[in-house]
C-alpha cells in the first residue's frame, strides 16, 4: 500500500475502513504520534506516581526514627549531666574536712562508744578526740 500526498489519491484503510480522503496523511502521522505520546506519557506518569508512593516513607516510620534519636540524645545529655553533677559532689565531699563534733554525732547510737560522747555533748563539753 503506497501513500501519496496527491489530492484524491489516498488509499482506503485496511480492514474495510472508511475512505480517508478527507484526512491528510501527514496529519494522520501526527495524530498517531500524538496519541502514542499521550498513551506513553500517561503510562509513564502512572508508573512515576506508583514509584513516588513506594519511595515516600510512611510518616509513622519517619517519626519513629526521629523519636528514637531524640530519646538517644536525651539519654546522652542525661548521663553527661549526671556525671558532671557527681563530679561536683565528689569534689565537694572530698574537700570537706569533717569537724570532730560532727564526727561524734555521726557515730551510730547503738555502738558502745557513742553514748558517753553524746552525753558529753549534751552537757556542753567540748568533744574530745576519738581514739581510733
Amino acid at each position: 500500500m503506497k501513500w501519496s500526498l496527491k489530492k484524491g489519491k489516498h488509499p482506503r484503510l485496511p480492514f474495510g475502513g472508511a475512505s480517508r480522503a478527507s484526512i491528510h496523511p501527514v496529519r494522520d502521522w501526527l495524530v498517531g504520534l500524538s496519541v502514542a505520546m499521550l498513551v506513553f506519557l500517561g503510562g509513564a506518569a502512572a508508573i512515576a506516581y506508583d514509584f513516588r508512593i513506594q519511595f515516600v516513607l510512611p510518616p509513622e516510620a519517619t517519626e519513629s526514627t526521629a523519636v528514637t534519636m531524640k530519646y538517644s540524645e536525651r539519654d546522652v545529655r542525661h548521663y553527661a549531666e549526671r556525671f558532671e553533677a557527681r563530679d561536683v559532689e565528689f569534689a565537694k565531699l572530698r574537700g570537706v574536712v569533717v569537724p570532730r563534733a560532727d564526727i561524734v554525732s555521726e557515730v551510730p547510737e547503738n555502738t558502745e562508744e557513742s553514748q558517753p560522747l553524746a552525753d558529753q555533748e549534751a552537757d556542753g563539753y567540748t568533744t574530745p578526740t576519738l581514739s581510733p
Binding site: 506513553f40 514509584f51 519511595f55 516513607l57 540524645e73 563530679d87 569533717v98
Partner: protein, 157 residues
Amino acid sequence: MLLASVTVCVVFFYKLETQKDAYETMRMEESERVARIASLTSLLETLDATNSERETIAEHVLTEDGVVDLLALIETLGREQDVLLSTETLTIAPINARFEELVATISVEGRYESVMRTFELLTLLPYETRIQSANLQQTTNNWRGVFDIRILKFKSI
C-alpha cells in the same frame, strides 16, 4: 500508524507489568536505602549536637592507661580520710566487644565516719561505677568495710 504506535505502547507497558516483581524489589530496596540514609543523617545530627556530652561520658569510662591513676586516686582517698585502705583483688569481667568491667575489692579500716565517708567517695568516683557489695563490721577499736566496686572500662585492644 496509529495502531502500530498504540501497539508498541501496549507492548511496552505489558512488559513493564510483567516485570513488576523485579520493580517491587527495586522499590523496596530503594525505600530501605532512603530510610537508612534518613536514620544515618539523623544519627549524625544527634552526634554533632551531643559532641561535648559524649566526650564527658567517655571521660568517665576507664581506659587501660587510667587504671593506675584510678588505683592511685583510691589510695589517695584513703589517706585523705585517714583510713587504712588496701585493694584486695583486681579482676576483669567482660561485658561485650567494646567494654569490660574492672572489679575491685577494696577494704577500708578506720573510724566509722571515715569508713563511711570513704565508701561514699568510692561511690562517687569520677567513673561509671556501681557497688556490687558492701560489708561493714566493727572490729575491736575500729570499723572495717569491704567493698566490691565494678568500674566500666574500655576493653583493651
